[in-house]
Structure formats: structure tokens, C-alpha cells
């Protein structure tokens, strides 16, 4: 079966709504829930994540015909860990407060499911340009998601946005929004919003990874 040719624009925009890594593929949720108490941390994490994803996608696409199948995963980990360490060193040197705020979640980008997922599902099968576009799209999708979550949590939980006071200080804050349950609440709301938006855009797609829709599973069973 001939593989369907996908346009460059579609590769770039897939990660924003249709295949949003956090809200539709449900990957990389650990860091997305943890670093979204403040917009500044979320933005920093998004930029660091996008840099690592784009660089690792490009490198893996370049080496896709060189890396033997036997050592796919160890090679990917070495490449991704290298880029994560570069980000860590640069951030420690020039953005120390952000480095402290992101804490353990910065080195944990190495084992982020989105990056490993894109390396295995996309970069090792596609050209360098397509892989770079995929990395940029997925990175934008991740960054937009964590910034949206952080915006909701910071405004409702602390009354500020990017550190600036946006709600009157006399107004009571919703303390739970700065805690873990608030993160899950925002996550659920944004997921629902993404499904609604996808329906409005009439852009429902057959997902290649993630859970298979129940209807398809039932159809598959009927055929058997």
C-alpha cells in the first residue's frame, strides 16, 4: 500500500491540535502537571523541551540509516541525554532562577515519552526536514498546552500572570489550583476543550499511537 504523502504544513500543525502530545496523545503529562504552577516555569520548560525535541529529531533522522535496529533505543537515549545536558548547563549558567524552578524535571526530559515517541514513530522513518518540522510542531503544541495550564493555575491560584498581579489582592484565591488536584482539573478541562475544538474544526483523525477508539476495536472484533 502506497504511503499517503503528508504536506509539510500538516506535519507542522499536527502537534498543535490534532495530535497534541499532552492533550490528545496523553504523553509527557508528568512534567506538564508539575511545572505549571507558574507561567514563567512553563514557558522555560516548553522552550527547553522544544529545543531538545527538534535537535534530537534532526540528529536521529540524519542517522536513521546508520543506527542498527539492535541499538536504536540506547543510541536515542545517548543523543537525547546529550542535548538535555547542554540545555541544563546553559540554563544553569545563564538562567539560574529558571534552572532552580524546573529542578528535577529538566534532566527528566531525557526520558520524556514525547521525545522518545517522536524519535521511534517519526524521526527514524522520515527525512531531516520533515523530522525538524514535526519537532517544531510538537514543541509548539507542548509549550502552548503547558502555558495554557499555567495561565489558568497561576491566575486562579495566585492572582498573578508571569509574576504580574492581574486579580485584585483583596479577591480570595483558589489555593487548590497551585496543588496537584488543581493541575489535574486544568488538564481535564483542557483535554475536553481540545476534543471540542477538534470536532468544531472537523479534524478528527485516526491516531497511530495512543488508545484505539472503542468503535474501531469493536469493528475489529466483529471482523475476526
Amino acid at each position: 500500500m502506497a504511503q499517503e504523502k503528508v504536506s509539510k504544513v500538516s506535519i507542522l500543525t499536527n502537534g498543535i491540535i490534532k495530535e497534541n502530545p499532552v492533550l490528545r496523545l496523553i504523553l509527557g503529562t508528568c512534567s506538564a502537571l508539575a511545572v505549571t504552577t507558574a507561567v514563567s516555569s512553563a514557558l522555560g520548560m516548553g522552550v527547553a523541551f522544544t529545543f531538545v525535541l527538534v535537535c534530537s529529531n534532526i540528529m536521529i533522522a540524519m542517522l536513521r540509516n546508520v543506527i542498527p535496529a539492535k541499538v536504536h533505543l540506547p543510541c536515542y537515549i545517548v543523543i537525547i541525554a546529550g542535548f538535555v545536558t547542554i540545555v541544563q548547563m546553559v540554563m544553569h549558567a545563564y538562567f539560574e532562577s529558571l534552572y532552580t524552578a524546573l529542578g528535577v524535571f529538566l534532566p527528566l526530559i531525557v526520558v520524556n515519552c514525547i521525545i522518545l515517541g517522536r524519535a521511534e514513530m517519526f524521526a527514524c522513518k522520515n527525512t531531516v526536514i520533515d523530522s525538524a518540522l514535526d519537532g517544531v510542531g510538537m514543541g509548539i503544541g507542548y509549550t502552548l498546552t503547558v502555558v495554557c495550564m499555567a495561565t489558568l493555575r497561576e491566575i486562579l491560584g495566585s492572582g498573578t500572570w508571569l509574576g504580574f498581579q492581574v486579580l485584585p489582592e483583596s479577591l480570595p484565591k483558589i489555593g487548590i489550583m497551585t496543588q496537584a488536584p488543581g493541575a489535574f482539573l486544568c488538564f481535564g478541562l483542557l483535554m475536553a476543550g481540545c476534543v471540542w475544538l477538534e470536532g468544531k474544526l472537523d479534524a478528527r483523525i485516526e491516531r497511530k499511537i495512543g488508545c484505539q477508539p472503542l468503535k474501531e476495536l469493536q469493528e475489529g472484533e466483529d471482523k475476526e
Binding site: 546508520v66 541499538v71 545517548v78 543523543i79 546529550g82 547542554i86 546553559v90 532552580t100
Partner: protein, 182 residues
């Protein structure tokens, strides 16, 4: 035929993985040569600012004199001022091996004039709470010539025992060093 199979199944994977690791290591070494001096300078500036913070009689870090002839284990830095006041920096392992760093300021009589704690290596929201100003207020003005223990006039931190133990151990290192040099 056999040679080709050995190359594909054994030699090539080892070679590719080794070369990848080597190239990445070299790249990191180059980046580190640029960032390490900046990180070191930042850490030094933070430490100097903390010394000034715990010594109320000092207005500028330039007035401080560095002391190096100490032998107390755990201590990583000591500075003195002309009025006899002193600040000592020490670190001890807390939860999961993360270092809790303490800088303690002493006046000429051995009274503690200020405490600065970096517990960012501890679990966020749990162990890191030992650096909260409300909790640290109990150490201000204490006698800096006597070792202290948790529960003996000073509170530990409920739910963060490893971090609080490291904090108390580092404070005692500072006290021991002060006694050594005073």
C-alpha cells in the same frame, strides 16, 4: 558470509553506539568549558551575598577577608570582618544524598546573627521547607559556641527528618568551625 553477519549483528551496533557516546561526550566537554566558569562565578556571587546577609555589620562583600586555615569537616568557606564577626559555610547530605548548605553568621561574642540555607536539592514542598524563614527564625540570636540537637530547645521539621537532620548537622559544623577559629 559469516564475516558480514558478524559485522552487522555484533561489531556495527557496538561501534555505532561507542562513536555516538564519544561524539556526545566531546560536545558536552566543549559546552562545559564555556559554562563551568560562569556557573562557578554565579555560585561565588551568591555565596558572597549570603555572607553579607548573615553579617549585619558588613555592608559590602569587598570588606570581607577569606579564612582558609580551618580543619573542621563539612566546612567549605569562612570569612571574617574587622570587628571580629565571622560567617561560616557548611554542607551536609540530606534526603537522597542532596546537600543542604548552611551559612551561619557570628558576632564577636559568638552569638548567631543570621542564617542562610539552601535546601533546593531536597524534595520540593517537603524537605525544601527547612529553608523557610519562619522555621529558621528559631536559630537567630542563639549561642553560637554550643552544639545544638533537635528537640532540645530547637524544633526539627515534621515530615522532613532527613533534611532537618542535615540542617542541624551543617549548623553544628559551622559552630565547630567557629570554635576552632575564635
Amino acid at each position: 558470509m559469516n564475516k558480514s553477519t558478524t559485522w552487522e549483528s555484533t561489531v556495527k551496533p557496538i561501534l555505532v553506539l561507542s562513536v555516538s557516546a564519544l561524539v556526545v561526550s566531546l560536545l558536552l566537554a566543549v559546552i562545559n568549558s564555556f559554562t563551568a566558569p560562569v556557573i562557578e562565578a554565579n555560585e561565588k556571587a551568591t555565596t558572597l551575598a549570603a555572607y553579607v546577609e548573615v553579617m549585619p555589620s558588613v555592608s559590602s562583600a569587598a570588606d570581607l577577608e577569606e579564612v582558609t586555615d580551618y580543619t573542621t569537616p563539612g566546612v567549605s568557606g569562612v570569612v571574617k570582618y574587622t570587628d571580629g564577626s565571622m560567617a561560616v559555610k557548611a554542607g551536609e547530605s540530606g534526603f537522597d544524598g542532596g546537600i543542604v548548605t548552611v551559612i551561619l553568621g557570628f558576632d564577636a561574642n559568638g552569638t548567631v546573627t543570621g542564617i542562610w540555607v539552601d535546601a533546593s536539592t531536597q524534595t520540593s514542598g517537603i524537605g525544601s521547607n527547612v529553608a523557610n524563614a519562619d522555621y529558621l527564625a528559631q536559630f537567630n540570636g542563639m549561642d553560637g559556641t554550643q552544639n545544638i540537637t533537635a528537640g532540645n530547645g530547637y524544633d526539627s521539621y515534621s515530615g522532613a527528618t532527613y533534611s532537618a537532620d542535615a540542617l542541624f548537622a551543617a549548623i553544628n559544623d559551622c559552630i565547630n568551625c567557629y570554635n576552632e577559629l575564635a
